[in-house]
């Protein structure tokens, strides 16, 4: 029994955080498929994007590293965490903002034409 607990603790300390990213991703995908409301679909898409960003940021971590702001006279790579995932994910966050904005605009258009944003009612009506 203690063996299992030890291995579990080892796993959680080593790669446990990937589990969290995976769970977030699964929640997002499940919601995007199963939710009938388009607003909820957009929110689930955001959750999925956050999980991807989270996954990338975990790659940048280093034990004993500090923020990627260069201090005086310390130029060794061990002293700082990896700046590349941060730079990439900064732009990913901005793009997720753009997709959410366009999604909201489309949602208002759908509400105008069909009078609802529930998927069941829209497919039941079958157009205008």
């Amino acid at each position: 029994m203690t063996d299992i607990i030890d291995r579990l603790e080892f796993f959680l300390a080593d790669r446990g955080i990937y589990m969290l990213a995976l769970i977030l991703f699964a929640v997002g995908i499940y919601g995007m498929i199963a939710c009938g409301n388009y607003m909820k679909k957009i929110m689930c898409m955001n959750i999925m994007q956050v999980s991807i960003i989270f996954f990338f940021l975990t790659f940048g971590q280093k034990e004993g590293g500090t923020l990627p702001i260069a201090l005086e006279n310390i130029f060794s790579a061990e002293a700082y965490i990896n700046p590349v995932p941060h730079a990439l994910m900064l732009t990913a966050i901005v793009v997720s903002l753009g997709t959410t904005g366009v999604g909201l605009a489309l949602l208002m258009k759908i509400k105008d034409i069909y009078g609802t944003i529930e998927e069941e009612e829209i497919t039941g009506k079958g157009g205008k």
């Binding site: 790669r15 280093k62 990627p68 702001i69 130029f75 258009k109």
Partner: protein, 261 residues
């Protein structure tokens, strides 16, 4: 009744598929690096070069900004353009929908719920926060290459200040209402400013976005000054674009929303 039954079946199937995919991903995922290890592939080659050469190459102490605005400046330019395009798309999709007038919007907000943040005291407190956020946004913008900061964050902060001022109903004087057209023009100006920053070195015989050849500063040897100027100009462009697009998306949705629904 039958419909909800089939929905439950669908949900069960989906959960089963997701668990299967997750389990296989975990099985395969044992090759993923241990969190915090120093010698993983992601932490080895490129990142080492950036960390050890960023200050010398770009005179930017914030390595993330050095990567974003200097080494990968071309990438960030198109990132800004993608954001600008998303704003244009949102405006185009909703351009045929009729605007609801500003005064009526405020009145309907007041009719539906008296206070946005649940009480009068909270509303007043959030209005006090607005100027502080503005000052902090400017600070973040001009500290882009010195310490923590950057254009994207500064744009989000400035837009957040405007957003708070916009959605909290008030009978006093407020910041002048910005229409979505003006916000979109602001964003376009930001993107244009970025491109002009890229073209300026070309007038002096350099490449696109080569800050060493910017036509001002104290001579060609002044790498630190020229790179700081170039990065700051890029940050200003990005800030304008992000701020404009966030305000555009907010306004284009808010101006056309009927709160009676």
């Amino acid at each position: 009744m039958k419909k909800s039954n089939s929905n439950k079946k669908l949900a069960a199937g989906l959960i089963a598929i997701i668990i299967l995919v997750g389990a296989s991903a975990l099985k395969i995922g044992s090759f993923l690096p241990v969190i915090g290890a120093q010698d993983t592939p992601a932490n080895s080659y490129l990142s080492e070069y950036y960390i050890s050469h960023a200050v010398e190459d770009t005179a930017s102490h914030n390595i993330v900004t050095a990567v974003l605005a200097d080494y990968r400046g071309f990438d960030t330019l198109f990132e800004t353009c993608v954001l600008f395009l998303s704003g244009i798309t949102a405006v185009m999709i909703l351009s045929t929908k009729k605007k609801i007038s500003h005064d009526k919007t405020i009145r309907t907000i007041n009719d539906n719920s008296e206070h946005i943040f649940s009480s009068n005291i909270m509303d007043a407190a959030f209005r006090i926060v607005v100027p502080i956020i503005l000052i902090y946004g400017i600070y973040v913008l001009i500290h882009g290459e010195i310490s923590l900061g950057g254009g994207f964050q500064a744009g989000a902060l400035l837009a957040c200040a405007y957003l708070l001022d916009r959605i909290i109903p008030s009978f006093q004087m407020r910041v002048k209402h910005i229409t979505d057209e003006i916000a979109l023009i602001t964003a376009g100006t930001g993107a244009l400013f970025y491109v002009i920053t890229g073209i300026l070195p070309m007038l002096n015989g350099g490449n696109f976005l080569e800050f060493n050849k910017l036509p001002f500063g104290s001579g060609a040897g002044d790498i630190a000054g020229l790179h700081s100027t170039g990065i700051l100009m890029i940050e200003i462009g990005v800030t304008l674009c992000v701020m404009g697009i966030i305000i555009t998306i907010l306004e284009v949705v808010l101006e056309r929303t009927d709160f009676d629904d």
